[in-house]
Symmetry: C2
Subunit: 300 residues, 2 copies
Amino acid sequence: MSTAPAAGQAAPSGEQSPAGDKSPLALICGGGSLPLAVADYVQARGRPVLLFPLEGIARPEDYAGRPHTWVRIAMFGAFARVARAAGCKDIVMIGSMVRPSFWQVRFDLTTLMMLPRIAAAFRGGDDHILGSGVRLIEEQGFHVLGAHEVAPEILVPEGALGRAQPSERDRADIALGLDYLHATGTFDVGQAVVVSGKHVQAVEAAEGTDQMLTRIAELRASGRVGTPAGSGVLVKAPKVGQDLRFDMPSIGPLTVEAAARAGLAGIAVVAGSTIIAEPAQLIAAADRANIFVIGTPAVP
Amino acid sequence: MSTAPAAGQAAPSGEQSPAGDKSPLALICGGGSLPLAVADYVQARGRPVLLFPLEGIARPEDYAGRPHTWVRIAMFGAFARVARAAGCKDIVMIGSMVRPSFWQVRFDLTTLMMLPRIAAAFRGGDDHILGSGVRLIEEQGFHVLGAHEVAPEILVPEGALGRAQPSERDRADIALGLDYLHATGTFDVGQAVVVSGKHVQAVEAAEGTDQMLTRIAELRASGRVGTPAGSGVLVKAPKVGQDLRFDMPSIGPLTVEAAARAGLAGIAVVAGSTIIAEPAQLIAAADRANIFVIGTPAVP
C-alpha cells in the first residue's frame, strides 16, 4: 500500500530551481527551532509549506500555532499518504535528530517492506543510514531537497559573525583542524575536532559535538589539556563527499555556549556548507562569551 | 651544577647492544607493575638496575622490598647526581604517566635551566613533550633507551594471546581502524580508535584510552552505537614516526576489563610495537570476558 509513485499534481517547474517552486513543500521537522525558520523563509518566497513534526523529537509547543501533522520515524506510509494528498512532491528533512536505536523503532507496513535495506544501512555509518533513507524515499516518488536549497538564508557566510576575531594562534589551530578533518573525511566519522596549541585535543565520532565539548571542559578542569582557557577552537567541516542535502554540519546558540564552557577561543565552520540555527541568538551568545564564530573558505 | 657529562665508568659495549650491556641501568618508574617487570627481565640477564620511582605516580608499596630512590618530575638534577654516582649511563623511562599540568610542577635548578624549552614542548603535542624531554636528558650525558630494547619480553607477539579469535567481521573492523590510525598518525593525536560494524565509533585524543572506552560503554547503554554488544574492536597503533623508545602504545589487564565493559569483541594492537603489562593477568582477563587480544602485523 502507498507504494505507487506520487499521484498528486506535479510541481510546475521545480526540478531545476527548487527555490522558485510554488508547489507545496513537505517539511519533516526534527528538534529545535530551525525547521520553523526554514518554513518562514520558504513561505516568505510564496511557497506553501506542510509541517510534519517528528513525534518524540520535535516539541509540541513549537507547533501549537501552525497547521501540522505529527509523523513517526519508520512510519513512512502515513506521512506519504498525507503528503501526496496535499500535492507535495518535494521533501525537506531538517532539525536535530538523535540516531535512534534500531530495536526501539516501530515500523509501519510501507516502511517494513523497506526493512532489509534499512537494517543494512543501520550497520553502516551515519552516511549509510541517511543516504539509504533518502534513496528509499525517492523510490516512493518524492524528491528530497536540502533545506539550504529552499532557504539559503540558513547557511553560514564567510567571515566573523560576531564581534570577536580569531588571533594568529587561533588561525593556526583552525588550519590544523581543517587539515585533520580533511584527512579523515573519507571515514564517515564525526565532522568536528577541538584544536588547541596546534594540537588536536578531541575528535568527534559517535558521541556528537556537545559531548566532545563537555569532555574538553573536563580535561581542562583536571589539567590534562595543557593550554590555558580562552584558547583552542572547535572546527567543524563536512565529510569528504558528504551529501549536503540531508546531513550538513550545523551550529546554534547551544554550540556557542558549550564552546564557551569548554574555555575555547572560538568556533570555525566552512562557509556555505554549514547551517546556522537562530543566528541572532548565536551572535548574542558569542558576543556575551567573547568568543569568535567564523565562516572559513572551503578547503580546496 | 651537575651539568657536566656523566663521569661514571663507561659501559663496556653498550652503545650497539644494550641488551647485552652489564653497566647499571637507571630505570625511572611511572605507575603500574610494568617497571618492576622490566627490572626483573633486565636483572635476569645479569645487568644491575637502579630503581627511581616517580613521587606521586609510582606506588610506595610496590617498591618496599627493593632498593630504590624516589625522584620527582622536573627534579632532574637530583636524579642525575645519584645516577652518575652509581655509574649509570643508560636510562629507561617506563610505566603509566599522567601528563602533568605545567603549572602544578615544581622545578629544581638543573631542570629550571631547561625551562624555556620545556615550556615550548608543553605547548606542542605529546610527542613534543616526550621528544624534548629525551633530548634534554641526552644533552646531560645520558643515553635514553626504550624499555623494549633492554627487555624485549614486554612486546606483544603476533597472533591471538588468549583463547578467543577475531571473526571475519572483527577483522574488517581491525583493518578499518588501522587505516584510520594510519591516516591520522602524522597529527600527534591519540593512538586508538573503537571500530564497530565497519564504523569508527570513537577516536582517542587527549582523554586517553580508558576514558574513550567508558564513552563507548555509555553510548551503547543509551542506544547511540547501533551495533550489538559483543561486537567492535579497540584498535591501537603507534603514530607515524613515533619514537618507540619512550612512547609506545601499551595494553594491560585494565585495558581488557575496560574493553569488556564497553561490550567489545576484542582488542587489536601492532605486534612488536606495543608493550604488554602483566601478560598472565591480561590473558586471564581476556579469557574470562571471552574477548580476543591479537597482535597484528604492522601496516607497511
